[in-house]
């Protein structure tokens, strides 16, 4: 049994310790990437490992974002946590509240002596993960924002001009009707419905998602998604679903497969869809800014980031933290960031990387890839567009997904669904508040 072998291992490792000191310190990195993104991450890790010989980063993929976070939490409870854990943005509140489980990134970097300058990171990107004192608690890794993807060939096939202005939802509405009339089976499809059509929608139109500055200024926050603007938008989408103009394919990124296969004309999805779409799509495509409702709120404000950041977990050796620091510093370096941004469509996290990409002429060559950057940085964020910091948010997103599905299937009106989200979600926020008093 394992216990016996652990004992034997312990004995033999002490005998070997002079030799062990020469072995490389391992830094475990758990993430949620597969496919193309997984390959790129593996390449980065490989690169880091070969560039020096003190530390070895061991990367492993643990499932999707939720599964990775849960795996990390379960591992922590069992004493088997990795040094670096990728946590998606909605898990931020959970990680921030767990003071004994995580070690703030700025502390890790300071202790490791690796290169680190908090001001070098783009404000809109790091804001989600920064404490109220301005210290970075986790390192933004892959930040993206939703944009509108256009299948030009599908437009032509349905007899609609692919250069139609799609900057407002009003225009999109008319276009969807035209596409459907022209024979398109799938005029509009979306990914990450809650993130794009509720969370980002609220920020983009400068209306609150939750009280207390979307949770930034207090744990006693309450949901406010049943505002007029959100209900109006979801009512419109519900009508599109009924008319067959909006096809619902799933809560996460199931729609990506449909779009990349050329079945759909319009796709609201993260700018990071670029990696997959570029490699798989056999049609001409455009990237446009996310549409907004003309005349509603303060639109267009700025959109918020989605994606994940890297957290360092407590309970490890000093040497391992040094290694983690070195790796994080490596990931933030301008070359690595610029390449990552250009390969994936994720936003560059440092101003330097952004400038380098611009200078290299990348944006001219790849039209549309700058859309995401502009959309995020055009205006200074307001209290409603800094991001979200809500506890149990993965579960709340689950509730939102369920209620949205009720709207698409015609079971509920948008108002009833959003009221239901508030009624169901607030108790979870209260429980989170209670657990973290």
């Amino acid at each position: 049994m394992k216990k016996i072998s652990i004992g034997a291992l312990a004995v033999s490792s002490t005998l070997l310790s002079p030799i062990a000191a020469y072995a490389e310190t391992e830094v475990h990195f758990w993430h949620a990437f597969t496919g193309r993104l997984g390959e790129l991450v593996a390449a980065q890790v490989e690169d880091f490992n070969t560039s020096q010989d003190k530390y070895t980063v061991v990367q492993s993929h643990k499932g999707n974002y939720s599964e990775t976070l849960n795996a990390g939490i379960a591992a922590f409870r069992a004493g088997e946590q990795p040094q670096i854990l990728m946590v998606f943005e909605v898990g931020t509140a959970t990680m921030m509240a767990a003071k004994g489980a995580t070690r703030p990134v700025y502390e890790v970097m300071a202790a490791s002596g690796a290169e680190f300058d908090q001001d070098a990171y783009i404000g809109a990107v790091k804001g989600y993960y920064t404490s109220t004192d301005g210290d970075m608690l986790s390192l933004p890794f892959n930040a993206s924002t939703p944009v509108l993807w256009v299948n030009r060939d599908a437009f032509k096939a349905a007899g609609v001009d692919p250069d139609t202005d799609l900057s407002t939802w009003q225009n999109v509405d008319k276009t969807l009707t035209a596409l459907k009339a022209g024979g398109s089976d799938c005029p509009l499809v979306t990914a990450w419905q809650s993130w794009i059509h509720l969370e980002n929608f609220s920020a983009y139109h400068d209306v609150p998602f939750a009280s207390k500055d979307n949770g930034f200024s207090g744990l006693d926050t309450e949901l406010q998604v049943n505002g007029d603007a959100q209900i109006a938008h979801l009512t419109a989408m519900g009508q599109w679903a009924k008319d067959g103009k909006f096809i619902y394919t799933g809560r996460r990124n199931e729609g990506g497969a449909n779009f990349r296969a050329g079945e759909c004309a319009l796709f609201t999805e993260s700018s990071a869809g670029y990696a997959g779409i570029k490699s798989e799509a056999k049609f001409a495509f455009d990237v446009r800014p996310l549409p907004y409702w003309e005349g509603v709120g303060n639109a267009p404000q700025n959109t918020i980031i989605g994606g994940a950041s890297l957290w360092v977990m407590e309970g490890h050796e000093e040497e391992e933290y040094k290694g983690a620091g070195e790796f994080l510093s490596y990931l933030s370096s301008s070359d690595v960031q610029a390449k990552w941004h250009q390969d994936t469509g994720y936003l560059p996290i440092t101003a330097e990387a952004s400038a380098a990409t611009k200078a290299s002429g990348f944006y001219e060559e790849n039209v549309g890839t700058e859309v995401a950057v502009i959309q995020m940085t055009a205006k200074a964020p307001t209290a409603n567009s800094n991001g979200l910091r809500l506890g149990s948010f993965d579960q709340i997103r689950g509730i939102i997904d369920e209620e949205l599905e009720a709207i698409w299937s015609g079971d509920k009106s948008a108002k009833d669904a959003m009221d239901s989200v508030v009624t169901r979600g607030n108790p979870l926020l209260r429980r989170f508040e209670q657990a973290n008093r």
């Binding site: 496919g35 409870r77 088997e80 996460r252």
Partner: protein
């Protein structure tokens, strides 16, 4: 406690009396239809495991086996999707056999103690054992998980096996059986001055052979088919069992599932239990019907 199990009688007056020609053909037809319907999902899975992915992804898929049998099964066994199916089969085998044998051994011992001895606390122990019949593992998963984690037994065979042999169903069953063993045998052994363990080993165990075998089959299936518990305590794909590992073979992103490999894995996952059940059919059915648990 037992249902009288007589063999199917072979004389013409058996069953429900009339056996006219048309009735027989109709009965056979109904049974064949029933078997076909019940078997269809298995058949379809088998066909899917022998064709290539493109054939499945553009429905309708063929309903007769294709020619990719060796390619798909080899791919499944040696590479799998996140871990080779061969590894998962091994893990399942170890877990199922461990549970079956472990449970049989400790329950034979404790049933023997309860039935043939008087000792302090006997009544308490008996009731404690009785209570464990009541709660399947699903009701105590969270704290059991933490105990296993505390022992450092996550991702280990011990962690897979021990919590599943904790309930005393087998002890109870053997107790019921031992109660039906004629007193004279034990009396004779005692009079002969034989030690209790002699009696246990030379007489009781051989008498229990069929019950042990039947129980082995049932426990093997029970262990092999475990899902929730292995799901929770294995974080390392290398320790996946084949039944719980199947869900992880579905992609979590928006990629298309590798259906031929998944279906091949499903077929492989059901083969060992089917072999065990079919080859020990008579024994198994008797054990099932007799034990009613």
């Amino acid at each position: 406690m037992t249902l009288p199990t007589s063999k199917p009688q072979k004389n013409p007056a058996a069953g429900m009396v009339e056996k006219r020609g048309l009735g027989i053909w109709l009965s056979h037809a109904i049974m064949i239809l029933g078997v076909l319907i019940v078997f269809f999902p298995i058949w379809l899975a088998f066909v899917a495991s022998t064709v290539s992915q493109p054939e499945i992804v553009s429905p309708p898929m063929p309903l007769l086996p294709g020619d990719q049998f060796f390619i798909n099964y080899k791919k499944a066994l040696l590479a799998g999707i996140n871990v080779p199916v061969g590894t998962m089969l091994t893990n399942s085998l170890i877990m199922a056999i461990g549970i079956a044998i472990g449970k049989i051994i400790i329950s034979l011992l404790s049933a023997f103690a309860i039935v043939y001895f008087r000792f302090p606390g006997k009544k308490i122990f008996f009731w404690l054992i009785f209570i464990t019949l009541m709660l399947p593992v699903e009701v105590r998963i969270v704290p059991t998980y933490e105990i296993i984690a505390g022992f450092g037994m996550l991702n280990s065979y011990g962690g897979l096996i021990f919590p599943l042999i904790a309930s005393a169903t087998a002890t109870f069953l053997f107790r019921q059986f031992f109660m039906t063993v004629p007193d004279e045998l034990a009396e004779a052994a005692r009079v002969d001055g034989a030690k209790p363990l002699r009696f246990f080993w030379d007489i009781l165990i051989p008498m229990s052979r069929t019950n042990i075998a039947a129980l082995f089959v049932i426990l093997f299936i029970y262990g092999w088919n475990q899902y929730l518990w292995p799901l929770l305590i294995t974080t390392d794909p290398e320790m996946n069992t084949i039944v719980m590992g199947i869900k992880q073979m579905f992609p979590s992103g928006d990629d298309v599932a590798d259906w031929p490999v998944i279906m091949a894995t499903s077929i492989l996952a059901m083969i060992p239990p089917v072999i065990v059940v079919i080859s020990m059919q008579k024994l198994f059915i008797r054990g099932l019907v007799d034990s009613e648990k």
